[in-house]
């Protein structure tokens, strides 16, 4: 505790350490000094421009802004003197003169009008001085009405300093100064990414959600967590008439009140008319391959409504029939990383104890399976070693094979914050991205050359003796092998492969190795390769070599994709592990679970996602239960996957919509959306967080947990879980990592980090501070050789295709393409390619091109984007009408069993019809 002193505020003696402003101290004393441009929300700096919070300080010539001013010893301050109050009122009066009439203003209940009420000013004696057309309704999600703007600049701080998107600025000056987007462009045409931070910050309603309703018309607010990416942003739903009207960021450990476009504006998919509300059964005689005319808006061409009894009975009996004919291994299940931990746990328990097989997997296989494999092998733990928020303590940050402003937008804001504060950002990715502008280095390598580049970086570190020798000695093993292996990988030797100049490789190597605290983030660009495990091994070696792990600001962080991919993996929605990554093939462990679940378990690891497709083609698997996954869009070489789905004797799909996968189902079970259920999810930071139901289920849709249990019981299991809390309690009995977490604790705290040993344990956010959870306690170096991508370019297929996401669309688009704002912002599939390549092909923006690989083809419009390098194209995989996975390669990484969807060879032609 630093020294304290006292000062006087409104006649009261206050002790303080001088770190907080007069405004904050006054608030603590129960006095809310009027304020407009100030907010005490996290991440917002006081700016002191509105001058509504002026206070009088004895002995000073002029008044002082209480939001900025910190008291000093003996200072005598009053916020209630005539002089101070005169200023507070006059500021409001000046601003009111240029406001619309209160009842006609965008938000008559706004903070601004509340402050006007507080100081007792309702009218102005000044004439209105503002004119012109100040409205802008061009954005699908937000309206601008600068008539209500008070130039407080909170939106600029929100856009520039909090989210670091740098779109909003203040143009011109003086009374003419005004809020602009980019070059005073319409908001809808600007670089705005619609995070909505400005809307949440605006005190007047000048910036407002299109869906806005007055606070007095909101029925209830429900605290929950975002269902989209792995960042795990906490949020609050504003609900009216049992509909989610708007969403606000809440102060969770991962997001600190920030949200992105999906978390802010992406929730009306749950109210979409295409939502399934009745169980459906395939009509007699309708072929599964008859798909093209099936419209998810009207499933009744192919399916008929059924009662829950009928649908569940048919599903269960169909699956039992397969089991009877083919044995347990004739069945498989795909669970979901979109649901709760409780659902994932019960789903895998159902497959293991009801089906009797380990054939259970989920989209982690297409995500970070290779990263997890490498991490388990080398450092003994598959999760991140530090939360991404540790970036604020790092001075060098590597982001490789990831595009966080698109895929982890809120995490990216913290990276940008760190860069703006002076941390050096190193981006390594074949494509440019929004973070490149903030980066000290962007190594725009050739696709698929990560091992070459990373080995070269490590070679420099070894060669120049920048290794952390004592760390290597005390905490690692097999360094000698790595050192010998690296010798050949000089930056010069690798330059042709990677396309990166040796000087840049050296500079980056030195920067990272000599950093006080360096941290590494990676994404699918690392994992989705046949050498994905090798890519991750290199990153792990890089961290071990430099000792950049186990301290604040250091670590290894694979940015997890789905909101609950961490949790779903933890609870064993994967074929080779039981909960907490305990091997199914270890008889001791298996025995423990057999006792706990009171049933025999399959002793052999099950099949993974792509292997299951192959097994269906091989007629080994005949029945599947798929909950909330969409392999008919997400699987590589998706034609092959769709064909497999078509071949099944019994396919049960449980989902919100008639997805491309559900189109092949025998039985479709209408399930619950995230805002309709209670449950926990685990984000990329290992934070277990509480999700709460905000609205009722539509029609006859049911809770997923209930559906799983109904199926289980029809398979002969005698389950009786009445509430997710009972499932969670069961999980804590078999998962040591979360044994200190309870449902009640999560209800109270909303978020607890694991490993968490007991009820008072705050949870361990930094791992490997002392040792690694490996047999030797040491981290292991595993050298990686160069392996070419499975399918390299040639004369017939000369162009590299890489795939990924768009900011607005989640995964296969089943939710986000039904969210009106997200759909409006990115309504159509495009292939992104460099302007030079378009010129060579004589293509105009928007022209159709035909893209063809050895596995399939599609027609798509061209989008010019200089972020993509020559010889390469990018297609997002969320569009059913031009599914990128028709083209992708299903070759697998031999260890992680992840498919190489980041790299395949294609040919490209201007479409004759365009």
């Amino acid at each position: 505790m630093s020294d304290t002193f006292s000062f006087t505020l409104n006649g009261q003696q206050i002790e303080t350490d001088g770190s907080r402003s007069i405004w904050e101290l006054a608030k603590e004393q129960g006095t809310t000094i009027p304020h407009l441009c100030y907010t005490d929300r996290p991440g917002f700096r006081a700016d002191g421009n509105c001058r509504a919070c002026m206070v009088e300080i004895e002995g000073e010539r002029v008044l002082a802004p209480s939001c900025m001013r910190k008291p000093s010893e003996g200072m005598v301050v009053t916020s209630k003197s005539d002089r101070a109050e005169k200023a507070q009122k006059m500021v409001m009066e000046m601003l009111i003169s240029d406001q619309p009439e209160r009842q006609e203003s965008p938000d008559p209940e706004s903070h601004f009008w509340q402050m006007a009420d507080q100081v007792g000013v309702a009218q102005s004696r000044f004439d209105r001085g503002r004119d012109g057309d100040l409205g802008d309704i061009t954005h699908p999600a937000m309206n601008v009405d600068l008539n209500a703007c008070i130039n407080c600049d909170l939106c600029i701080r929100a856009c520039r300093e909090v989210q670091a998107n740098d779109v909003i600025g203040m143009a011109a000056r003086g009374f003419e100064s005004k809020i602009v987007f980019d070059f005073d462009d319409p908001m809808g045409d600007s670089t705005c990414v619609a995070c909505g931070e400005c809307v949440q910050a605006c005190p007047t309603g000048a910036l407002q959600e299109k869906s806005w309703l007055a606070p007095s018309k909101i029925d209830r607010q429900v605290n929950s967590v975002c269902p989209f990416c792995g960042v795990g942003c906490q949020l609050t739903y504003n609900v009216a008439d049992d509909k989610i009207i708007s969403v606000e960021g809440r102060n969770g450990p991962a997001n600190e009140e920030r949200l992105c476009v999906k978390g802010r504006f992406g929730f009306d998919y749950i109210h979409n008319p295409e939502r399934l509300t009745k169980p459906l059964i395939r009509k007699e005689g309708v072929s599964k391959s008859d798909i093209a005319t099936l419209d998810p808006a009207n499933p009744y061409t192919h399916f008929r409504e059924a009662s829950w009894e009928e649908a569940l009975d048919l599903a269960a009996s169909g699956l039992m029939k397969v089991k009877a004919e083919k044995g347990p291994s004739g069945l498989a299940g795909f669970g979901s990383a979109k649901g709760s931990n409780e659902e994932a746990y019960l789903f895998q328990k159902l497959v293991r104890t009801g089906f009797g097989t380990n054939n259970v997997d989920h989209c982690t296989r297409l995500c970070h399976a290779s990263s997890v494999a490498a991490l388990l092998e080398t450092v003994g733990s598959g999760a991140v070693s530090a939360p991404f928020n540790e970036a604020e303590n790092s001075d060098v940050i590597i982001i490789i094979g990831a595009n966080p402003t698109i895929n982890h937008p809120v995490a990216a804001t913290f990276f940008k914050n760190a860069a703006k504060k002076g941390a050096k950002l190193i981006i390594i990715d074949p494509r440019k991205q929004a973070l490149s502008r903030h980066a000290a280095y962007h190594l725009q390598e050739k696709p698929g050359t990560d091992v070459a580049l990373l080995n070269a970086i490590m070679q420099v570190i070894v060669e120049e003796d920048l290794v952390n020798q004592s760390y290597i000695e005390h905490s690692t093993e097999d360094y000698t092998q790595l050192k010998a292996h690296l010798a050949a990988y000089t930056p010069e030797a690798m330059a042709d492969k990677t396309g990166i100049a040796p000087d840049d490789v050296r500079a980056v190597a030195r920067l990272f190795a000599t950093a006080k605290a360096g941290i590494i983030f990676w994404g699918m660009g690392i994992s989705q390769h046949v050498h994905g495990t090798d890519n991750s091994r290199c990153l792990i070696s890089l961290a071990l070599l430099t000792g950049q792990i186990g301290r604040p600001g250091t670590g290894l962080h694979p940015l997890r994709g789905q909101n609950n991919v961490q949790g779903a993996s933890d609870v064993a929605l994967i074929p080779m592990f039981l909960p907490d990554y305990q091997s199914v093939e270890d008889p001791v462990i298996r025995g423990k679970f057999e006792d706990f679940w009171q049933t025999k378990l399959d002793p052999v690891a099950g099949l993974t996602v792509v292997e299951i497709t192959a097994a269906i083609h091989a007629k080994q698997i005949r029945g599947m239960y798929i909950m909330g996954e969409n392999p008919a869009m997400s699987d590589p070489n998706v034609t092959h996957a769709r064909e497999a789905l078509c071949m099944l004797d019994m396919l049960v799909v449980q989902d919100l919509f008639l997805t491309e996968t559900a189109a092949y189902a025998d039985v479709i079970l209408p399930a619950s959306a995230w805002p309709e259920k209670n449950g926990t999810v685990t984000n990329t930071n290992r934070q277990v967080q509480m999700g709460r139901a905000a609205v009722a289920l539509p029609g006859d849709a049911r809770q997923d947990l209930w559906i799983i249990q109904e199926i289980a019981n029809r398979l002969g299991l005698d389950w009786n879980y009445e509430h997710p809390s009972q499932v969670f309690a069961e999980m804590t009995q078999v998962m040591d990592t979360i044994k200190g977490i309870s449902w009640d604790r999560l209800e109270a705290e909303s978020s607890v980090t694991y490993p968490c040993e007991h009820a008072d344990d705050p949870g361990q956010s930094l791992l490997f501070t002392d040792a690694f959870p490996t047999a030797t306690g040491r981290g292991k170096f595993v050298a990686a050789d160069l392996i070419a991508p499975d399918e390299v370019t040639d004369r017939d297929y000369p162009i590299i295709l890489t795939t990924g996401r768009l900011l607005e669309h989640w995964h296969t688009g089943s939710m986000t393409r039904r969210a009106s704002v997200l759909d409006a912002v990115e309504p159509e599939p495009t292939v992104q390619m460099s302007p030079a390549m378009m010129e060579n092909m004589n293509l105009q923006s928007g022209d159709f091109v035909d893209v063809k690989s050895r596995r399939g083809q599609l027609r798509i419009r061209a989008r010019s984007d200089s972020a993509v390098q020559q010889g390469m194209i990018f297609i997002p995989f969320c569009y059913a009408e031009a599914a990128a996975n028709l083209l992708t390669n299903d070759a697998l990484d031999p260890i992680g069993k992840i498919a190489e969807v980041k790299f395949c060879a294609v040919q490209l032609e201007k479409s004759p019809t365009s």
Binding site: G48, N49, R51, A52, M54, V62, R83, K86, A87, V91, M94, S97, D98, F126, G129, P140, I150, N151, D166, G169, M170, A171, A172, R173, G174, F175, E176, S177, V180, D182, F183, D184, D189, I291, A292, T293, D295, A632, T639, H640, R642, E643, L658, G813, R817, A824, E826, P827, E828, T830, S845, L858, A862, R863, S864, D865, A867, Y879, A880, L886
Partner: protein, 568 residues
């Protein structure tokens, strides 16, 4: 068959335009190439934005949005970061395209001194004759040549005592592409300055013959003050900067923009080396790593001269390894406020910073920074050479030191006058200004430009210095004395001053941004609502962030107080 799937879910495609390019405005290939070429090999630090905007505008005559987008990309700035700076400063002209941009911009100075010399009528005439199409006729703020008004600026040429015929000739030539080279100024040359003992004190300081402490003590004894307007004791400022560990920086405020002020220009143009010696002495005293000279855009002749002088002292090895950067302002009175100037040097909009912390401690790029005005530095070599006692001898009416007055308005010989501190307005007019112009009777004067208030002739016997005028609601500021006569409309003079502040307000804080415009609206009325004006003025003075808003109502308040007859 399996390349087909169900009808796709997205519905918005039907009624919304798809996007076939990256989000937001994209520069054309041509603009990218042009901008790349212009800045090839040039540093691209963020703080150079204003310099680079000048470069673009010099090249194309205006700032096209396409080029601005390309520049943003090249400098790795966001679009808004570039746009807000480009639109903040008066002298940048942003247009969508060349078709919209005029070929020539003609600005008539409308500050009080020039308006006393008939600039309003001239502006009207020029607007009628030329405005529209290829030529844009508009107003400009004080151009620092107030002894020779009215001043008209045609692009980068400044025409003194402008009349329609000289303007016609200048415009014709400019349209024909004939632009005269920047004129050489008659000044004390490097050789002459050295011959007079110039740079001796600096060399002694470098050689250790003069100790820093002793120099600062001498300055303290001389009671030398900052002469940019605030009059802060110079030695105290030096010590304040020195109290924070380095590396330190120095910024020189050569942005005198207070209407009626043209003394810094006089010193730089007539004796640049004495100014630079003062600069180097101060830089050495605080061990400043880099010195930034922030020169107003309106002084291209001075810029030309200083560039030569800077390379001369560089060659003569007088900088002691210090980097001296000449930065070009872009037209913003607010840059006279020291922290706003720092923001501008950092390449941003010139918004004054909140204090504390003070720039001496947390200044340019967050470093401790010595900020001095040109004249403050100009005196240093002379004080050190001739001694503190010599400087203190400059006295009048009990005041000490020398002051440099910029005298304008209805006097016979307006100009820059170096006089003992404490002189009265009456003495200044009579002894230096040659008395009132024919046909004019002394009525009122503004002792410190637009911001220092206004006093009646009956109060012209007050010594003019720091601290002597405050009790009358006035201050000396930059010592710009503007003399009004019985021919002038004092209400209009006050409106002129308020219009100036409204135009120059940076817009950051409510009392100044909104207050100046509301005050102006109230002052435009036939009958003034004096209680409301008074109330508004009180809050502007009390609650504005910087001196601009705080001083904006001074003239208005003086009018209500000392000239009640004007408001009957």
């Amino acid at each position: 068959m399996f390349d087909q799937t169900t009808v796709a879910p997205g519905k918005a495609k039907k009624n919304r335009k798809s996007r076939y390019k990256p989000r937001g405005r994209q520069p054309s290939n041509r603009a990218i190439e042009e901008v790349k070429q212009i800045f090839a090999g040039k540093a691209l630090h963020k703080d150079l934005l204003i310099e680079h905007l000048h470069r673009l505008q010099d090249e194309f005559g205006f700032l096209g949005k396409d080029h601005l987008a390309a520049l943003a990309d090249l400098m790795r700035l966001s679009l808004s970061e570039v746009y807000e700076v480009a639109t903040f400063y008066h002298n940048f002209r942003v247009f969508d395209s060349a078709e919209e941009a005029p070929r020539l911009t003609v600005k008539i100075c409308d500050s009080l001194s020039c308006s006393l010399n008939g600039s309003a009528a001239l502006a009207q005439e020029l607007a009628q004759t030329y405005d529209g199409g290829a030529i844009k006729v508009t107003h400009g703020a004080c151009m620092g040549r107030c002894d020779r008004g009215p001043i008209v600026r045609v692009e980068n040429q400044y025409i003194a005592h402008a009349d329609p015929s000289t303007i016609q000739a200048t415009i014709d030539k400019a349209l024909a592409g004939e632009v005269p080279a920047v004129g050489e100024l008659d000044h004390v040359s490097y050789a002459d300055y050295c011959a007079q003992g110039g740079f001796n004190k600096l060399k002694e300081l470098y050689a250790g013959k003069l100790a820093t402490d002793n120099v600062i003590t001498s300055i303290e004894e001389s009671e030398h003050r900052g002469l940019g307007g605030a009059g802060f004791p110079h030695a105290m400022k030096l010590n304040s900067v020195l109290s924070i560990p380095g590396p330190r920086l120095m910024a020189v405020n050569a942005d005198e923009s207070e209407p009626g002020t043209f003394k810094d220009r006089y010193y730089m143009n007539s004796n640049p080396y004495q100014f630079l010696e003062g600069l180097l002495i101060a830089a050495e005293l605080v061990d400043a790593q880099t010195v930034y000279i922030f020169l107003r855009d309106e002084y291209p002749d001075t810029a030309h001269l200083l560039k030569t002088a800077l390379s001369t002292i560089e060659i003569a090895n007088l900088t002691n390894g210090r980097k001296i950067e000449l930065r070009r302002g872009a037209g913003a009175y607010i840059c006279g406020e020291e922290s706003a100037m720092l923001e501008s040097i950092e390449g941003k909009r010139a918004l004054p910073r909140q204090k504390p912390p003070f720039p001496a401690h947390v200044g340019l790029f967050g470093r401790p920074t010595l900020i001095n005005n040109v004249e403050t530095l100009y005196w240093l070599p002379e004080i050190l050479t001739k001694g503190a006692d010599w400087y203190k001898q400059g006295t009048d009416n009990g005041r000490q030191g020398f002051r440099t007055f910029s005298l304008s308005g209805h006097v016979k010989t307006p100009g820059v006058y170096k006089v003992p501190a404490g002189i009265t307005a009456q003495e200044l007019i009579d002894d230096y200004g040659g008395g009132m112009k024919e046909g004019h009777t002394f009525r009122a004067y503004l002792p410190g430009g637009a911001s220092g208030g206004m006093l009646p002739a009956s109060m012209a016997d007050i010594p003019l210095d720091f601290g002597t005028l405050e009790k009358y609601g006035c201050f000396i500021g930059s010592a710009a004395v503007i003399v009004l006569s019985d021919q002038d409309d004092l209400k209009e003079a006050c409106r002129n001053v308020m219009r100036f502040f409204e135009d120059e307000s940076c817009g950051q804080c409510t009392p100044c941004r909104v207050g100046t415009t509301k005050a102006l609206a109230l002052m435009a009325r036939e009958k003034w609502d004096q209680p409301l004006l008074l109330e508004l003025s009180d809050v502007m003075r009390d609650a504005s962030i910087c001196g601009l808003g705080q001083a904006a109502p001074n003239a208005l308040l003086c009018l209500m107080k000392y000239f009640p007859e004007e408001l009957v």
